[in-house]
């Protein structure tokens, strides 16, 4: 596994734990379809939450949130629809969140969570 993939895995792990600690129920992780991958799918009360997790080891090359572009968000939206198609049932309300994880090799990990980014 390449170092960047390992970092991404670690970030997703941290994000999932963070969401769980906030009281969200994790529905699925790393759901794949031909169009791409959804990092985390969780349930927050009646709401289905699709989460994009972005991890960096430092902000030297920009904040992780800055790298979530409108194109990436649009893909996430299409993926959310694909997930709903693949999992029939009442999905009345969905929302798309973004989580930034700054995880340096040593030192404290920082998590930033933005709700309803799309």
């Amino acid at each position: 596994m390449a170092a960047k993939d390992a970092l991404g895995r670690r970030g997703e792990e941290i994000a999932a734990r963070y969401l769980a600690s906030r009281g969200l129920a994790i529905v699925e992780r790393n759901w794949r379809c031909p169009q791409g991958e959804i990092d985390v799918i969780a349930r927050d009360g009646g709401e289905l939450v699709f989460v994009e997790v972005k991890t960096r080891s430092s902000v030297a090359f920009g904040h992780p949130l800055e790298s979530i572009t409108p194109v990436k968000l649009a893909r996430l939206r299409r993926l959310a629809a694909a997930w709903c198609d693949a999992h029939p049932g009442g999905h009345d309300t969905i929302r798309i969140d973004a989580i930034a994880v700054i995880a340096p090799r040593v030192g404290d990990v920082e998590v930033e969570h933005l709700e309803r980014v799309f």
Binding site: L65, E66, I68, L73, A100, E112, L114, V117
Partner: protein, 510 residues
């Protein structure tokens, strides 16, 4: 979180207060600028973000929405940068919202966070003062200019960091070298003295009459007759600008990007555009930002058009509206701008393409048709608005020798006469809306109480009967006669002064 402050949007010389609101929302990082910005203002978001980071007071990684209201008013230029940056910092909680709400901000940001001076600070601060703002924050390079407006507290800052500290931001002060405006020479150019003019006593006297009454002048004569020399000396004969005019002239200079200096411009401006000037260059224009032209820059001073027939006729006729109303109104699809246009027009022309027609010492080689066509390029309606139309001759060797013995009247002496005559006219016109003889309509001069005795006006009555002058020309002669009387210290013109006035009108008569 919301941050709110104010800036000024200039349209011509009128400034409108623009409210700048910044909202920080919990969303992916973005900087959105709304409220009809033009291209230069649209780029403000990149300048603001870079300047904030490089000044050490970075913006949060959230979505920042900046609204410029009134949202329907088109806004131009880079002068909003400081206000946008501070509103965003206030939204982020870095500086005090209350503090920035009470101050109006002007200035362009460099990427390093330093503030650059902008054009038009004087009219913008004036607008702020009229709108009731007591404090205005400007770039250090504009501080002198902003301080010319009385009753406003000017806060000069060199960088965004300094501005943020002033508004309660907790940063370590950092001394930066302020960006100053390159000074573009002394605004008070040497005008030359009237005493330098040799011979041509008629023309010198005509210039004094023009200065005293504010009359427009047309000088016709061969090359080397001293037309340009005479015209360039007219501003030197005019009295110092009044407080209102000084503020207006300085504002126009500021808007045109010319240096203003530490004090208001006190001497009347002199503008001499080249004859290849376009209509937009002369009266002002531009598609995005409407900028003042030479005529507006010459307001309350002298606009000199040398080689007037060489100007494009449509360009010259664009001056008819300001000559009539004293205002320059420029209409564009998205806005109407108004500039002052109370300039005194001086036009100079050769009598024909070769220039020698009518000269005593050389022969004209132009066919009559070419001569007629040449002077015909100046439209009748334009010439009709010019009170003094004078023929100037080259001086002869004898006059040159005589000139060594008696020097002509100096500018200082002439200006003193002009001031006395202007005071007399103002006193006579005290209960009217006019101050100068050139502003008085003919009907009033022929009206009750002011009308001259038939014996006095006999010469011009006869000229009118014979068709030598038109009714409009008749009124112009009356106006000139009043100015000549004011200069002579008489309470009303006599027959000789009317004759002299008629002489000043007759250069173009055929």
């Amino acid at each position: 979180m919301l941050g709110r402050t104010y800036a000024v949007s200039l349209l011509g010389l009128t400034g409108e207060i623009v409210e700048i609101e910044a909202d920080l929302s919990s969303n992916l990082p973005a900087f959105v600028l709304i409220g009809l910005p033009d291209a230069a203002l649209g780029e403000a978001k990149d300048r603001v973000r870079a300047a904030a980071i490089n000044s050490g007071c970075g913006l949060p990684n959230r979505k920042i929405t900046v609204n410029l209201s009134p949202a329907a008013l088109p806004k131009h230029g880079s002068g909003f940068d400081l206000a946008i940056a501070l509103a965003a910092l206030a939204a982020a909680g870095t500086v005090s919202s209350e503090s920035i709400g009470g101050v109006l901000h002007l200035g362009e940001l460099g990427l390093d966070g330093r503030l650059r001076p902008i054009n038009g600070v004087l009219p913008a601060v004036l607008a702020a003062s009229r709108a009731g703002f007591e404090s205005v924050m400007v770039p250090t390079g504009n501080a002198d200019e902003a301080a010319l407006v009385p009753g406003v507290r000017v806060i000069p800052v060199a960088s965004l960091r300094e501005a943020a500290i002033w508004h309660g931001g907790e940063f370590e002060p950092e001394i930066v070298e302020p960006i100053l405006r390159a000074s573009a020479g002394d605004p008070d150019d040497d005008e030359g003295d009237l005493g330098d003019v040799i011979g041509n006593p008629d023309a010198v006297e005509a210039m004094i009459v023009a200065a005293a009454g504010g009359h427009h002048v047309f000088l016709l004569g061969p090359p080397g007759a001293g037309k340009t020399m005479l015209a360039a000396r007219l501003p030197g004969l005019l009295p110092d600008l009044s407080a209102r005019a000084a503020l207006e002239v300085s504002s126009i200079r500021s808007l045109a990007g010319m240096s203003v200096g530490r004090s208001l411009v006190r001497r009347p401006p002199f503008e001499a555009p080249h004859h290849t000037a376009s209509a937009a260059a002369l009266v002002g224009g531009g598609s995005g930002q409407i900028r003042p032209g030479a005529a507006a820059r010459a307001s309350d001073g002298v606009l000199f058009l040398d080689e007037a027939p060489e100007f494009s006729p449509s360009v010259l006729d664009a001056l008819r509206q300001p000559l009539e109303s004293g205002l320059i109104t420029i209409h564009r699809a998205n806005a109407v701008a108004t500039f002052p246009g109370r300039f005194q027009l001086v036009m100079a022309a050769n009598p024909c393409p070769c220039g020698q027609y009518g000269a005593r010492d050389s022969e004209c080689t132009c066919p009559p048709a070419a001569r007629r066509r040449y002077v015909g390029r100046l439209s009748g309606p334009l010439l009709d608005r010019i009170d003094i139309q004078l023929r100037v001759q080259r001086i002869t060797a004898a006059q040159l020798r005589l000139a060594h013995e008696a020097r002509g009247v100096s500018s200082a002496a002439a200006r003193a006469r002009v001031s006395v005559a202007r005071a007399a006219a103002a006193e006579r016109l005290v209960n009217t809306p006019w101050q100068l003889n050139s502003q008085v309509p003919g009907a009033w001069l022929r009206g009750p109480g002011v009308r001259l005795a038939p014996a006095v006006t006999a010469s011009i009555d006869r000229a009118l009967e014979r068709g030598g002058i038109t009714m409009r020309g008749y009124d112009r002669v009356l106006r000139l006669a009043w100015t000549i009387a004011d200069l002579a210290g008489d309470t009303s013109p006599n027959a000789a002064q009317l004759g002299q006035a008629l002489y000043l009108r007759r250069a173009m008569s055929n």
